[in-house]
């Protein structure tokens, strides 16, 4: 058995595996466990504003002491106040509608990109990705300037004569949809483009040869074969949008109920860290199902392509 030759590859492989795990452990698992722990605490007028706080100097006994103070009151509170349930539901509804709108807008764009002459495709791809190079916050802010009563959109519509009174778009759910679709469109377009670009053109030629008109060929051949891209794009939009905060905060009104905003309010305005931690934990649990389904889909697709 080759000792020297085998020892080196396995050490590097171990390192390759350990690094991402360590990264995830430190930057995801540990923070999540902290939030999880805080969700079982109670508010206190202290720094940090909850109790118990683990005091390592008190030793193991001190930790057991703290754990005995844990309570599930926060979770019970979530079920008792209808606000939170409504906020969760509202977030899911907004996420579903936004995903649908993003699909409607993104599919034609991705289709156009995939069918464009090959030498243009790199440029088009760059144009889709380029907005990411600027600050997300500033781009959302820009929409305020466009959608407000004296904003660019109203000015344009008034000038053209389509309307006579400025429209109220800002601080309504419509503005939120615009903001979300705008910000998350690349997440929809890119997987769609990847899926459509891989489509074999000779399949469409074969369909035409067999008597199928172009529109029918789209629904019978192109769309079914692009479904993996549709699914991937929908998940990539739906999952983060459910917990979205910035866009509903900047563009939405007081009537826009999203769980991200609720969480923020609890945390910063009410200084209720335990309750907001509970909100966050529940949100994660709600999203676990689509996340796991998405992972499975992707894995199955990758296996199918490899095999």
């Amino acid at each position: 058995m080759a000792q020297q030759g085998e020892a080196r590859p396995s050490r590097w492989r171990w390192l390759l595996i350990v690094v991402p795990y360590a990264w995830l452990f430190v930057l995801f698992l540990v923070p999540f466990l902290i939030v999880f722990k805080i969700s079982f605490s109670t508010t206190a007028i202290a720094q940090p504003p909850y109790t118990p706080v683990f005091d390592l100097s008190a030793g193991v006994a001190g930790i057991f002491d703290a754990v005995r103070q844990f309570t599930v009151d926060n979770y019970l509170w979530l079920t008792q106040d209808a606000l939170y349930v409504r906020a969760y539901l509202s977030s899911l509804v907004i996420a579903v509608v936004s995903t649908g709108l993003a699909l409607l807008v993104g599919y034609p764009v991705a289709y156009g990109m995939a069918r464009a002459p090959k030498r243009w495709q790199m440029t088009l791809l760059m144009m889709v990705i380029l907005p990411f190079w600027t600050s997300f916050l500033i781009r959302v802010y820009a929409w305020i300037g466009i959608l407000k009563k004296e904003g660019l959109l109203n000015q344009l519509l008034l000038w053209v004569g389509v309307i006579h009174e400025p429209l109220t778009i800002l601080n309504t759910n419509w503005a939120v949809y615009v903001g979300i679709v705008y910000s998350y469109l690349p997440f929809m377009i890119l997987p769609l483009y990847a899926s459509l670009e891989r489509l074999d053109e000779s399949l469409l030629e074969a369909a035409a040869d067999l008597g199928c008109r172009p529109i029918r060929a789209f629904w019978r051949i192109t769309f079914p074969l692009s479904i993996p891209g549709v699914v991937a794009g929908c998940f990539l939009v739906f999952i983060p949008v459910t917990g979205e905060f910035v866009i509903p905060d900047l563009l939405g009104g007081s009537g826009t109920l999203m769980i991200g905003k609720t969480l923020w309010t609890e945390f910063f305005n009410n200084r209720d860290w335990p309750l907001s931690s509970a909100v966050a934990v529940i949100l994660l649990l709600i999203l676990v199902v689509p996340i796991v389904v998405f992972q499975n889909q992707e894995q199955r697709r990758a296996e199918r392509e490899r095999g």
Binding site: L203, A206, A208, D209, L210, G211, R213, R220
Partner: protein, 383 residues
Amino acid sequence: MAAKALGAVRRTFAPWEDAAAKPYIEFRGVTKRFGETTAVDTVDLGVYEKEFFALLGPSGCGKTTLMRMVAGFETPSAGSVLIDGQDLAGVPPYRRPTNMMFQSYALFPHMTVEDNVAFGLKQERMSKEEIAARVDEMLKLVKLAPLARRRPDQLSGGQKQRVALARSLAKKPKVLLLDEPLGALDKKLREETQFELTDLQQQLGMTFVIVTHDQEEAMTVADRIAVMDRGRVVQVATPAEIYEQPSTRYVADFIGDINLLEGRVTGIGDTTVRIACTGTGATAFVEQRVDARPGDPAWFAIRPEKVAISLKRPADVAINTVSGEVWDIGYFGDVSVYHVRLETGAIVKATVTNRTRLVERPITWDDKVWLSWSRDSGIVLTS
């Protein structure tokens, strides 16, 4: 390797010889340009009904482009394509009476074999029972009935090809276009499928147009072959005529093996011509009517299997004979090809059938041999 001429045996079928017959598919002055390059250059061609027609040529000669213009995937830059007398300009592929079998098969990966074959039929308004019956008939034709429920990714290459064939025949088109259909198959399967294709074509009475770069394939299946070179059709003839009477050196060289001896015309008769072959020092006396004058350059072309090789000096050394040394021998089991090096350095090939099972043959390397041929076994080419 000496190609064995396996031309179609159906000698009674020859509509191109009938002056009154009109071609079913016609190319009139068809040209196709892609930007700067001309893929097809002023092609005039006629394919008759029920013919098995082959477009043969190397990669890039324009044969696939020509066929795609019949299918409707390319439109001619100039000229017109007609089927049954009707100009197809402006007619999209889904309205043409043609069906195509693609080189990559282009099977729909998200449909079963059944659904693939039924796809074309679903575009016409056939009833469910009719569709099912036709699909069944097609799958039985290509012997794939038990695999009807499988998906393309569960099929072997040969099976995929049969599904593609069944799918393209399902609508019973007047013209079937085959784009290098047998390229991906191994030799044995290819040979079997070639004969199946010819049987199928006769059985169904359709016009088949096949595009291929494999000259053996073209010779096996086709009634007539059009040899193409860089966008132009060089010769259109039956396999036997292409093989034994090539019109140019290009055709002679492209099909099978050939000895091309360059020379000058030294004598012209009514039905004969005499050529002094400068490269070989031989004089060829050929029984052929040639339009040339003494002093014109010409090539004498003779197939290796028509060249006799012997250790004995023939009676008349003056014409149709040359001597040399055996430079190399190619052993192919059924034939041996002797590469004979002449005094001038040129190599002439002679093919001999290994009629006996002897391993030791009378003629071997470095032997001094005589090559000879009769006055009608070679031809003179002027281009």
